[in-house]
């Protein structure tokens, strides 16, 4: 009986040993597999992270592309607006110049006759006076009434000033016609100095002394320039933008100083031209205004960037100028500015345009 129980116990123990041995084998195998799996899952995780990184960088690229596309579009839009505006303005200016030119020609043409007639009439009056030294009371009253002596003097002055005025109108009309040159579609070899001078003439009213300040002094240091192949109208637009900005800068600077300061430190604009050794012309337009703050300098040529008050600047002047110089003329437009002492803009364009199909 006891032997039987022992036998059963032994059998149970044997089974337990078998089960435990099998379980041990199994758990050893499981452990190895688990280790392999854990490594595998680690790889997967890394793979997924790589996936994310890839899709992130492709997103970033796409964003960049879109930003560039947006910028290009904006530029295109600005160019379109500007060229529309400029061509409309060009036509308008040319039209106005033409329309004014005719009546001014009548005035100017007839002024010489008026002058002769006036002198004749004055001579006649003098002769009358000599022949009739004691005129009647009626004539005396009339002479006194019209202040004959003053009239005689002033009439000549008025005619002189009319002559000067009409000459100036004619010059301005000529400048306007030159400035607006409707020759945008092709390069022409032109005298750059003429373009600058025309621009200055148009801006004359802004350079003159006002009740609040004295005249802005223009210092020209013109070098010996050859004729330069360019889009003259566009280039004039650049001169206009840079000179207007210089005048704005000086006016800004004045508003921050006393009249005394301005007297000691008169407003000046320098215009220098030269030919550099790379067969390029270099035009420098500088002012002695307040200079441009550093944070604005990097954005000067961005479209719609302006430091001027709303309504005064569009933020397009320098942007368009930059496009005209760099793209149309394959040149360079750069800026140097020192806070407190002024700003200078440098235009560099080749004397001859490379790869010009018409040449």
């Amino acid at each position: 009986m006891e032997a039987n129980a022992d036998q059963q116990k032994l059998q149970e123990l044997e089974k337990k040993v078998r089960v435990l041995t099998k379980k041990l084998e199994r758990s050893e195998a499981d452990r190895q597999q688990l280790e392999a799996t854990s490594e595998e899952r680690e790889h997967i995780l890394k793979g997924v992270i790589r996936d994310f990184e890839l899709s992130q960088s492709s997103l970033e690229n796409r964003t960049r592309e879109l930003e560039i596309a947006l910028r290009d579009l904006k530029q295109l839009q600005v160019k379109l607006i500007e060229s529309e505006k400029m061509s409309a303005l060009g036509v308008l200016v040319a039209g106005v110049a033409h329309e004014i030119n005719n009546p001014v020609s009548f005035i100017r043409g007839n002024l010489s006759h008026i002058k002769v007639y006036t002198q004749d009439l004055l001579r006649l009056i003098t002769a009358y006076q000599q022949h009739n030294p004691n005129p009647s009371q009626v004539l005396k009253d009339l002479m006194e009434d019209i202040d004959l002596e003053f009239l005689r003097e002033d009439m000549i002055n008025i005619l002189k000033s009319m002559q000067i005025g009409s000459e100036r109108i004619q010059k301005i009309v000529l400048s306007l016609r030159n400035f607006s040159r409707l020759d945008e579609s092709k390069f022409k070899a032109v005298d750059i100095h003429e373009g600058i001078d025309n621009t200055l003439l148009i801006l004359q009213h802004r350079l003159q002394a006002t009740t609040t300040r004295s005249a802005i002094q223009i210092n020209k240091q013109y070098g010996d320039l050859p004729l330069v192949e360019c889009y003259a109208g566009s280039l004039n637009q650049v001169f206009m933008n840079l000179l207007s900005n210089a005048i704005d800068a000086l006016e800004d600077a004045n508003s921050m100083c006393t009249d005394q300061d301005v007297k000691h430190h008169p407003n000046e604009i320098w215009i220098c031209t030269e030919v550099n050794d790379r067969n390029q012309i270099k035009i420098t337009i500088a002012d002695n205004g307040q200079g441009i703050p550093e944070e604005a300098r990097s954005r000067l040529f961005d479209p719609f960037f302006t430091t001027k008050p709303v309504g005064k600047g569009t933020g397009l002047g320098l942007f368009v100028s930059y496009q005209i110089i760099t793209e149309k003329h394959k040149g360079k437009l750069s800026c140097q500015s020192t806070l407190g002492s002024g700003t200078q803009f440098m235009i560099e364009i080749p004397v001859q345009q490379p790869l010009l199909p018409s040449r």
Binding site: K15, V19, K22, T37, I44, G47, V48, D51
Partner: protein, 388 residues
């Protein structure tokens, strides 16, 4: 009345194990005679010896079975290296076994053969087909779960639910065995056909989650996947796995067309030269695929979903038996938590009832009640049986 009697032994010795199993069964049968049985056995046993012993005890038993990747029963819970025998007794349900041979060569013919053998003795219409077909055959090649399913549907008609799982070999992926009566096969398709007064319901759950970016299958043919997004299938996997070869733990989610419906496909073998991967299931060209990853919590939650879905749809008052078929990859990835799958089902039961099941190499179950049958992977299938 349908009674499910269980025997379960963790004795690694074949003779010891089957003796223990039969002892438990005979005790619980209490004189009843079982009609049919399901044998789930670990791969290392002497299967012929076990079958012979069962045959000596129950000579007329309609028995099928297979080797597995882990066995479960309400006696020992979840086990590996164990032996489970499930016996069915009923006076109102007819159960017959059949087997089809050479399922790898011609699954359609094998299915026809198996169904015919099982149904020729049956007088009433088939209510359910349980199958435990071969996966890895003697020469290491695999059967097509989809072809087997197609064959069974052709032989049974599309309205008969087909539930079960492919045989396993403890995650070795070399050779699996199937049982019919006293015979042991490596490429057979055994079936158990239920007819008569049977009520049943089933449920499925998966729990894998897609991870990484979605890609498109640019070249594939049946189960062989050649290219994803123009690069070789292997390169796609290597992006995630490094120089490791793709394994069953990392299946692909396959999305067809614009539909939300997606299913998993498990990689099986790969050709290092061409970079192609052979899957345990078809991958259609043009489909969108995404690598799948598991979170153990979600995998376990899916088991519960599967069970609840089955219980909710049970057409009678209360089931009498539970069969579960869970994918080997679930067992593998759950590790020590694999027993939770079984425990969840056990705890969710309204009352104590016998549970048996095994970890498979591919699961069969309809997607919905009275819905079309489907060949699943990485899935947990619950089958509830009863007569009331």
């Amino acid at each position: 009345m349908l009674k499910m009697i269980l025997g379960h032994s963790d004795d690694p010795d074949s003779q010891g194990a089957i003796e223990e199993v039969l002892e438990q069964c005979i005790r619980d049968l209490a004189g009843m005679l079982p009609k049919a049985g399901l044998l789930f056995a670990a791969i290392d046993f002497d299967h012929a010896l076990i079958l012979e012993t069962i045959n000596q005890t129950f000579p007329d038993l309609q028995l099928i079975g297979c080797t597995t990747d882990g066995e479960m029963s309400s006696i020992l819970g979840f086990q590996q290296d164990s032996l489970t025998l499930t016996l069915f007794c009923s006076d109102t349900v007819d159960i017959y076994a059949g087997v089809g041979r050479q399922a790898e060569q011609d699954a359609i013919a094998a299915a026809h053969q198996a169904v015919q053998q099982a149904t020729e003795k049956s007088l009433t219409p088939t209510k359910l087909c349980i199958t435990v077909p071969a996966s890895y055959t003697a020469n290491g090649s695999t059967t097509s779960g989809e072809q087997i399913l197609k064959g069974l549907e052709l032989a049974l008609g599309a309205n008969v639910p087909i539930v079960g799982g492919s045989a396993g070999d403890q995650f070795r992926f070399q050779k699996t065995y199937q049982f019919f009566g006293t015979e042991v096969f490596t490429d057979a398709l055994p079936v158990l056909i239920f007819s008569g007064d049977l009520r049943l319901s089933h449920g499925t759950g998966c729990g894998w989650q897609p991870i990484g970016s979605k890609s498109t299958v640019t070249k594939s043919q049946n189960t062989v996947l050649y290219e994803i997004d123009g690069q070789s299938a292997l390169e796609f996997y290597q992006k995630y796995l490094g120089d490791r070869q793709p394994t069953a733990e990392h299946p692909l989610y396959v999305y067809e067309g614009d539909s939300d419906r997606c299913y998993l496909r498990v990689p099986n073998t790969c050709d290092l030269e061409t970079g192609s991967i052979n899957f345990l299931g078809n991958i259609p060209q043009g489909a969108t695929v995404q690598l799948a990853e598991i979170s153990r919590d979600q995998v376990i939650a899916a088991s519960e979903t599967s069970f609840k879905m089955a219980l909710e749809h049970y057409p009678g008052t209360e089931p009498e038996a539970v069969l579960i078929f869970s994918c080997c990859c679930r067992r593998w990835l759950l590790g020590t938590r694999a027993k939770e799958e079984y425990a969840l089902v056990k705890n969710a039961l309204p009352k104590m009832m016998p549970i048996a099941g095994f970890y498979t190499y591919g699961e069969f179950a309809p997607l919905q009640q009275q819905g079309s049958n489907y060949y699943h992977q990485e899935t947990f299938v619950t089958l509830l049986l009863g007569t009331a």
